[in-house]
């Protein structure tokens, strides 16, 4: 199978899995979304964005974008204010920009000798930077459409992304022995 297609399939399935887990476990606990409390504080799908880009590079981006559009279009049943096409694109661009910044600085986690994607602390650095850019981007976007500047939107997006990706990684680690057993 073509490598790009294989990467896209893995990325798409993992992103959908993260999103469904978030819909089932986190969204009911957080309650209805309103403008004052925009942005989930435990956004698990952030792991679905960053992990494929960290391990597969830019080739994972199209699948992330398609998965996000389909999720918000067909799986999301909450209010319309929460997410739109532009916000989804900003989130994906934030991850792409992070990868590009790391690449330009010679810190690409796949190829550089400085940062390695096998070191979870380096992976967290990427997650943190991607969350920062996503928070700033979406904060600016929602500030422009609501005509109201609220730094808390950026902070909530950033904290939600970091916490969500961390929880998803910890869940992967806790279930890691099961994956190893599958290989036997």
């Amino acid at each position: 199978m073509n490598k790009f297609i294989e990467i896209s399939i893995y990325t798409f399935i993992f992103h959908i899995l993260c999103y469904v887990l978030w819909l089932v476990l986190i969204v009911p606990a957080e309650g209805p979304t309103n403008i004052e409390e925009l942005g989930s504080l435990v956004y698990l799908p952030h792991a679905g964005r960053v992990l494929p880009v960290i391990f597969f590079g830019w080739q994972a981006i199209p699948a992330v974008l398609v998965a996000e559009f389909l999720e918000w279009e067909f799986l999301w049943s909450g209010g319309d204010i929460f997410r739109g096409t532009i916000a989804t694109t900003i989130s994906t661009l934030a991850v792409l920009s992070t990868w590009f910044i790391f690449f330009l600085l010679g810190l690409d986690l796949n190829q550089s000798d400085v940062l390695k994607n096998t070191n979870w602390k380096h992976v967290f650095l990427f997650i943190f930077v991607a969350s920062l850019l996503n928070g700033l981007g979406n904060g600016a976007w929602y500030a422009s459409i609501f005509d109201e500047t609220d730094a808390l939107i950026s902070v909530r997006f950033m904290v939600g992304d970091v916490v969500g990706a961390t929880i998803m990684l910890v869940m992967l680690v806790l279930f890691y022995p099961m994956f190893k057993n599958f290989q036997k």
Binding site: E6, Y10, F55, N117, T118, W120, V173, Y176, F179
Partner: protein
């Protein structure tokens, strides 16, 4: 062979490193399950006593106590006296 074997092996290595660094590498699936249940209880109710751990894990008392002792020994959990009830022992995650 998959075209992305190298990338997947890197992911495998990262999870393995994280697993070791968090001190979880010596736990069997039952112990991991009990640990997960304890963490879940702490996340939900902000506290988990040893008795509650037996209840939520739905395993025998000796299995849960043995697991808690192991988790304490490897530095993943600590046991503290409850300030409200001195007879109760609370579990605190250290990672």
């Amino acid at each position: 062979m998959s075209k992305v074997t190298k990338e997947l092996s890197n992911l495998n290595k990262m999870l393995s490193n994280m697993h070791n660094d968090l001190g979880l590498s010596g736990l069997n699936p039952t112990e991991q399950y009990i640990f997960l249940k304890i963490i879940d209880e702490i996340e939900t109710n902000s506290t988990c006593s040893m008795l509650k751990a037996v209840e939520v894990a739905d395993k025998s008392r000796s299995t849960v106590y043995k697991t808690i002792r192991k988790l304490v020994n490897i530095g993943v959990l600590s046991i503290e006296n409850s300030s409200s009830d001195k007879r109760s022992f609370l579990l605190k995650p250290l990672i």
